[in-house]
Symmetry: C3
């Protein structure tokens, strides 16, 4: 499998995962089916659209290439017919969101590198791609974005994943195996952080 095809697979699976998180949030907020479709699109496609706007390389893929709509439609349908259960709604939402995050930080960094960005910009755009869709999803649904939830380490694993991807790309070691390994590492860290309520120091040092 070529790297390009592999990155496309990462993006489509990640889009499905983020779209599920959007559809589940639509359920929690009592939105209707069309609202679910819009929120799933925003969550699933938003990160990639921001990435393409920043890279400034023509019409963003999500608009130009119809295949990106397939995982979004499948996600909305899976939630609508209860194939993906929402019994423990918040937890399921966070797991799918974590899957999207882990795949998108690798995919975003890889596409940024391919577009010729320097390694620092590659990491930044990887993180932006990974956290962008989820942030749009939460902001338009009038929630404080998960990225700012201090009860759970969210953006740090994405930084790590985008950084590892940039290193692999610089070293010529980026391939399907190493890409999936990085994504699984990010996913594991995020899920452990949720499970054991890992915390990062707050934005200000406590007075001594």
């Amino acid at each position: 499998m070529s790297v390009t095809v592999m990155v496309l697979v990462l993006e489509l699976v990640g889009t499905f995962a983020f779209a599920v998180s959007g559809a589940l949030l639509a359920v929690r907020k009592g939105f209707d089916l069309v609202g679910s479709l819009l929120l799933a699109s925003l969550a699933g496609l938003g990160g990639g659209v921001i990435r393409d706007l920043v890279l400034n390389t023509g019409v963003p893929n999500a608009f130009a290439a119809p295949q990106y709509l397939v995982p979004v439609a499948l996600a909305v349908l899976a939630v609508f017919v209860r194939l993906i259960h929402e019994d423990r709604l918040r937890r399921t939402l966070l797991v799918f969101d974590a899957l999207g995050l882990s795949l998108f930080c690798v995919m975003g960094a890889s596409i940024a590198h391919e577009a010729g960005l320097n390694p620092i910009a590659t990491v930044l755009l990887g993180v932006t791609t990974a956290v962008g869709g989820g942030a749009l999803r939460d902001v338009v649904a009038n929630e404080v974005p998960q990225i700012f939830n201090p009860h759970g380490v969210y953006a740090a694993p994405a930084f790590l994943g985008a950084g590892a991807t940039a290193l692999l790309l610089e070293g010529g070691l980026f391939n399907a195996v190493s890409a999936v390994a990085v994504a699984m590492l990010v996913l594991t860290l995020r899920l452990l952080a949720l499970r054991y309520r890992w915390r990062i120091p707050l934005a200000v040092l406590k007075r001594g």
Copy 2:
């Protein structure tokens, strides 16, 4: 009247309508006159700016062409001097918002088609143009966007209008008469949906 001029007229009238909705929301939220101008600009010009960013064809019209500011300024003034009454504020806001929605889905799809997008992308960008400004307006004013209000069918008529426009464009039947007919159909559907509280199924099937 050429199609280009006609689309410009749709856009200017739609910009005025959305700008009125923004100025009325500014009244409801107790913002001052400058805040009203900013919210009216965001509502009236936001959809077109998103459209132009996606199409990636140079500086967005709203910035490059000063004439787009005229309908925004007129809208803010009309609300400020109470020419447009806010006695039944929420209803008036929704009617102007519906007018903007119906004109922008036709205008957005038409400009997307002219820029060479495929029919599916034409529909998507038409809907995005139609719902984008209103979503920005509601998000920055810290409200849940109208698109997600389950008590009223909002994005579905825009999908229908953008889809009909794409079909007319493909069939070579797009002209001033058919464009206005599609916009009036979308407006009628949206107002009927508001009046009779039409609902779309929720994002999840009810348990049997």
Copy 3:
């Protein structure tokens, strides 16, 4: 000092000021250190990214040029180690936000002019650059943006500053001295407006 270097200095200092406002808001909202970094980036770099997306001139500076990350990192650190006190949190936040606003309206208008925009578009993009980062900061943190706070004149000084910059640029009188003078005027107006609770008429005339 050439105008280009001077504008870069305005941008870096303004980025630091806005980034401090973002980090202080992160403290107030109880976000962690990574959330502080993200909110500081959004506040400090958001206006410039919007400017570059509108100008459509390749990858935005904030992504392409690593030096923009330095003032953001310094701001987060300064807030984290309490070098910038948050004892009177809201007031300190507003002062740094005002400094960013005053520098960014001059910088944004200057870069818009250099990119060949007409004077009206120059003013608009200057204002958008000045208020964009702060609006993003407040929206993702789920606050009503400062731009809409009727207890304080916010966007009006930015309009004045961008307008004065456009006039100076048209007249060939734009240089380091006049640029700093305009920025200081904007800052003074904004701080006086905060101190003496200046108000602009509301979005609607009161009934007589």
